[in-house]
């Protein structure tokens, strides 16, 4: 790129960028710093650094139960979304059936509608069908809403897939199932891992749908939500910092995995892009 003459713009652009990054990271840094602050979540400057909040957190039974619940929900939701999202992407790619256009839009709807609409619609279904609210209803909700993620990711992967490979496999006498397991799936490996990771993270963080479908057992975000309403302690900072550390590790792992395979932008970005294009 030739930058000749664009002095004016390029002078303030880096400062703008620094300001935006400061804005984006200020809450995250605050969160982590104050998780070590003895005298609570506010107050400048932070002083009396301590690990007490972490100690308190590690003996907090309710939090860890909710973490366990969230992990269980996220894994189950991941299984459901992939089990239906992968075939859905295949169907959109290579089958014509009545209602295909409606199906495509319907699958994507939970991604673009406010979560609250999907949540309360599902609540009505469970109420009508006399299903008791529990972690199972949350799993069904997350699993269904996040089919959209699996479908968009895998569909994008399918667009890059060389169909001749599948054709060759079929010509050489493999049946559809063998072709699917040995050619299609391995080729979609990165899309599927990416989708799984994204679904897991989104489910761990989901609150709008869970808010309506919650039974007696809390997921982590709802547990935190409940505590926020009762008054706040740096214990919440502590659990959030730990989870941030975990997601950071997940992103870095994913990034290296992807980098070693092909240089491509992050999946979250790709998802937003595909959703923006509406297919």
């Amino acid at each position: 790129m030739s930058n000749n003459g664009s002095v004016h713009m390029s002078r303030w652009l880096p400062w703008h960028a620094i300001a935006v990054f400061a804005f984006l990271y200020l809450p995250i840094v605050t969160l982590v710093v104050y998780s070590f602050n003895r005298s609570g979540v506010g107050g400048f400057p932070p002083h009396n650094l301590t690990l007490d909040w972490y100690r308190m957190l590690f003996s907090d039974y309710a939090i860890w139960t909710s973490v366990l619940n969230s992990v269980l929900v996220a894994f189950s939701a991941m299984a459901i979304s992939l089990a239906f999202g992968i075939p859905a992407a295949l169907a959109l790619d290579r089958a014509n059936f009545p209602g295909k256009a409606l199906f495509r839009r319907l699958v994507l709807l939970p991604l673009i509608l406010p979560g609250i609409i999907t949540g309360l619609s599902l609540l009505m279904l469970f109420r009508q069908a006399d299903v008791k609210l529990s972690l199972v209803t949350i799993v069904l909700g997350h699993g269904t809403a996040l089919i959209s993620v699996a479908t968009t990711e895998v569909f994008a992967g399918l667009q890059k897939l060389d169909r001749a490979q599948e054709e060759a496999s079929l010509d050489l006498g493999a049946n559809y199932w063998q072709t699917f397991c040995r050619v299609t799936i391995p080729n979609l490996r990165l899309s599927i891992i990416g989708a799984a990771l994204l679904i897991f993270t989104l489910s761990m963080d989901e609150i709008a749908v869970s808010f309506f479908l919650i039974g007696r057992d809390n997921t982590l975000p709802l547990e935190i939500w409940g505590r926020l309403r009762r008054g706040i302690t740096p214990e919440i900072n502590a659990i959030s910092s730990i989870i941030f550390l975990f997601s950071l590790a997940a992103i870095v792992t994913w990034y290296h995995l992807r980098l070693s395979a092909e240089a491509k932008p992050g999946i979250a970005a790709e998802l937003v892009e595909t959703a923006a294009q509406g297919d």
């Binding site: 703008h16 995250i28 859905a88 169907a91 089958a95 609250i116 619609s121 054709e167 963080d205």
Partner: protein, 282 residues
């Protein structure tokens, strides 16, 4: 090349699942919005337009809807104001650091939404980080109260959350601009200003539209940030729906309001899709 059986196997399970767990619930939402509640709080399954009448008649509902749209509009404006120059900088001027910066925009997306809203609460509160900092450096004597529990706090937090969403499609559209177009403009004597406004900006409009739609739609339906940070003056339309499904116990009215929201959102998405097509040069 694919047999009928293969196509049936990949088509039937997802369509059935989606029919039962998405089509039926959204249809139920539609039905509920035409039902009513009896005084004994049972759902009356006879069709009526009363919920919609009430929504358009009672001032507080429409006012809250307009306030939500106004909040969402401000969030959209600020997200674009932050996101566009950043995307432009990354795409055209960041050089080697481009990938690193790009990742830096993405990372906050992976931090829990609730947690980030909560973090803003600890910053903006009357004994929060910002107020105590201001007092520490003797800029104010007393805490600045309007920071928390106001529409300002909601707009700030939602802007923080949705700026990356506005950034991403803009960045993608800027990256797709053929660089030789920009060079041609320079070679033909266009100033950087002219090149930006007459070449780069028009080509990035689809990205801007997508980013704006995301920011607007996502913030319009938000209910956690208002509850955490909004106070009475920052209540948004989803908060009303939540209360109608909870304490106020009027599901049909809640369903009617949700459906109006849904129509608004889908209409906006449709409009932005049409406009994007019109502006895209492919």
């Amino acid at each position: 090349m694919f047999s009928r059986a293969y196509r049936a196997v990949i088509t039937l399970p997802p369509t059935l699942w989606v029919a039962v767990l998405l089509l039926v619930p959204y249809t139920l939402l539609f039905c509920y919005s035409f039902w009513s509640v009896s005084p004994s709080q049972a759902i009356v399954h006879s069709w009526t337009l009363d919920n919609y009448r009430e929504f358009f008649r009672v001032n507080v509902y429409l006012q809250t809807l307009f306030r939500s749209m106004w909040i969402a509009a401000r969030v959209t404006f600020f997200s674009l104001l932050l996101g566009y120059p950043l995307a432009y900088y990354l795409s055209f001027h960041a050089g080697k650091r481009k990938d690193l910066f790009y990742q830096l925009v993405i990372i906050p997306l992976w931090v829990s939404y609730l947690v980030r809203a909560y973090a803003w609460k600890t910053i903006l509160g009357s004994d929060g980080v910002l107020n105590t900092l201001l007092q520490y450096v003797h800029l104010t004597k007393h805490p600045v109260e309007f920071l928390l529990y106001s529409p300002f706090a909601v707009v700030l937090t939602l802007t923080h959350i949705y700026t990356p969403f506005a950034f991403l499609p803009i960045y993608a559209s800027l990256e797709h601009i053929p660089r030789n177009l920009v060079e041609a403009s320079h070679d033909l004597g266009g100033s950087p200003f002219q090149t930006f406004w007459r070449v780069i900006f028009p080509l990035s409009i689809p990205g801007v539209l997508a980013g704006a739609t995301f920011a607007f739609v996502l913030s319009l339906g938000d209910f956690l940030a208002p509850l955490l940070l909004g106070g009475p003056s920052g209540i948004m339309i989803s908060n009303i729906v939540v209360s109608l499904f909870g304490a106020a116990y009027n599901w049909p009215l809640g369903a009617a309001i949700s459906l109006c929201m849904l129509v608004l959102v889908v209409g906006l998405l449709f409009l932005s899709e049409k406009l994007e097509k019109k502006w895209s040069f492919r």
